[in-house]
Symmetry: C2
Subunit: 416 residues, 2 copies
């Protein structure tokens, strides 16, 4: 079943906020064989919203709008929806009660603007929003179904998963299944991978498709296999067989066999081998620790870390030698090694990941240009170091160094 | 001038990658009075790409495509562009040279797939890509101008800013100006702000518009003012006057007067008062340090920090008292205060920001439910603490705690 998403909001068009809702929706509906056929981002004007909804209905019977439902004056979505689906505004007592409860829970006062959220078109079925004040609205006509949802990602994804999608599945029982397999590779370029897999790809059946998804420091390979819902088992089996074929060809570059982040790969490996982790970060500034602790349950393996931005902190908290700093410079494999070993000593962790580098835009020298990052991993007494030259701006250099550090740690555990 | 963006890629539609290019483009063109009138995200099929480009040209004379130009088989954009603009593929020697250089610089081997990037339609003008292997292509017909750009954000934004937009400005000299003003507020809800500003908004002239943009822990108010390019000065002045009016009404909630992040606000304040910063993070796991160090030049103020996930690290590196941990628990204002003071002592920094809390999904208790975060700021010998209850999932709780901690530190510096 195809769905079109219309993401409403001037803040999206002018680039102050990024639409992540359409991607979240796509991920939630994929396991049922549904797909997002198109996403349009449109501004807060009636004309834009009307146009975008019209174009969406020309492509799919199900249109999901996100945003444009807040309490403030820049929200005119309800009026456009009444132009399309008819009806007039009336007060919904249950919504009013919900708004009142949420405001009370947040310690905020009710005011006329918040109360106005309880005014909903008579032409829709209201779905109560447990996570915020703006009610969800389900419209239906000969064009199809439109569900208007709030734009705050936490509310959109929470309510879509628990309320909207179950109702849509009930309304449009699915006939198709799509299954996805993801392999994560590192240490090889996209085109080199494609060259190795070219012959194998030629022989893929028509219901399968391989996509190359490069990330900072690794590449995800996503295989999709489609079929009728009655053939679910055969589709799953053929996808597994195709993955087995890929593994024979590019096995040495594969670091994980499902769609997980480098931090999740490291935590799975650490958990399996009872490894505790610590980080000692200079140029990555806490982002390796942040990536690890973003994973629920990471406290089982993560002891902690040090963000050692100044030399003083490198010396005081990590025991880096002032002589080495003077002789080799902060951005050196020697200092990175001492940072990794030092954070293990300071925290008692089994594994230490350290970075020291020049993320830019300032600080580059002819010897150590921007993008130079020294990475060290210390694991149960053994330390390995490497110097990388990452392309790109500050954020990109940091992202690559984070993923490289995490995946180097995975390799250290596996090889030792 | 209106621009439509077509973001191409199955990976965008299925939610594995988020389109950030359209937002970057919007931010870059806004100062010239240009705007992104619409964004469509479409899949990698010829039919989808053809449809999306057609819809885009029905709305604007300038269409920018991103993505769909990589070396691998899922990229078919060039063929669709030749259907629309004519021409046939020929090898461009300069592109081939560029691809060769980039591959050599990255230490990768040339292969037939990479070399194929040098095959470009005869109907376009090629813009050499300094940042990657896929060439940019400028097409022009009676429909208007289409520029096909790569999808990797680093390449897209870098090439758009340095090459594409200057050429577009030259081709379509601008007649309009839009100016933006942003105020950042904290400690007040969107609807309460809107209530306070309701009367003022009623009196806004037609060429001005106020948008409310809620973030985790703060709200951005964006005022847009439009006019003809000949009236640039008057437009700027009237926007400044409108902002002055807002400040009279909601001044006490304003923490910054331009569109900067909480970390940038703290760094500006710290820099102005010669303050060095350190972080001591439990539940935020390095994200406060990460937010600070994401800002270029942050090393001037940022000493470093400790990610103290385990109690052991809190005791060893931050000098937190084991008795306090036993008596009050790790999630307590007392422990947060000791962490903030301890990181100042350990690093010699003037300002310490500490967090200890329960981000979820596990770890909540009736006394300390998920979302409970104790935040402490220690500044030149004085320490303040607070316990917050943030709504939402793990990421949202962490994001709010990060911004709350940063903005609390700003307040501490300003008030002391």
């Amino acid at each position: 079943m195809d769905v079109c998403v219309v993401a409403i909001g001037d803040e999206l068009l002018i680039g102050q906020v990024t639409d992540t809702n359409s991607g979240s929706i796509a991920r939630m509906i994929a396991p049922e064989g549904w797909r997002v056929a198109g996403v349009e981002v449109c501004g807060d004007s009636a004309e834009d919203i009307r146009g975008a909804i019209g174009r969406a209905f020309s492509r799919a019977n199900i249109v999901l709008t996100t945003g444009g439902l807040g309490p403030t004056k820049d929200d005119i979505t309800k009026n456009v929806l009444m132009e399309i689906f008819g009806g007039e505004l009336h007060e919904d007592a249950e919504v009013l009660e919900n708004v009142r409860n949420i405001m009370a829970r947040r310690g905020l006062e009710m005011n006329p603007l918040t109360a106005a959220q309880a005014m909903v078109p008579t032409s829709c079925e209201v779905i109560q929003n447990r996570l915020g004040t703006a009610p969800l609205m389900w419209f239906e006509s000969d064009k199809g179904v439109l569900v208007a949802m709030p734009g705050v990602p936490f509310e959109t994804t929470g309510m879509f998963e628990s309320e909207v999608f179950p109702r849509l599945l009930n309304r449009f029982p699915s006939r198709k299944v799509i299954t996805h397999r993801t392999l994560i590779t590192t240490g090889i370029s996209e085109s080199a991978l494609a060259g190795m897999l070219a012959g194998w790809e030629e022989n893929l059946p028509d219901n399968m498709h391989l996509a190359y998804l490069p990330n900072a420091g690794y590449i995800r390979l996503r295989l999709d296999a489609k079929g009728d819902i009655t053939e679910r088992k055969a589709v799953e089996t053929s996808a597994d067989e195709a993955v087995a074929g890929m593994k024979e060809i590019i096995g040495e570059y594969i670091v994980a066999e499902n769609d997980i982040t480098p931090a999740e790969i490291l935590l799975a490996e650490s958990s399996a081998h009872d490894v505790t982790i610590a980080t000692a970060e200079s140029c990555t500034g806490g982002n390796i620790a942040g990536a690890i602790t973003a994973v629920p349950g990471s406290s089982q393996c993560m002891a902690g870390g040090v963000v050692a931005y100044s030399n003083d902190v490198k010396i005081k908290l990590l025991g880096v030698s002032p002589d080495t700093l003077a002789l080799k410079g902060a951005v050196s494999e020697e200092v990175a090694a001492q940072m990794a070993e030092g954070v293990c000593a300071a925290t008692g962790a089994d594994l230490g990941i350290a970075t020291s580098g020049i993320a830019g835009p300032g600080g580059g020298t002819p010897d150590k240009p921007i993008g130079t990052v020294c990475i060290a991993v210390s694991y149960r007494g053994k330390t390995e170091t490497v110097t990388m030259h990452f392309p790109g701006n500050r954020k990109r250099v940091v992202d690559r160094a984070v993923n490289f550090g995490l995946l180097s740690a995975v390799r250290m555990i596996r090889e030792n």
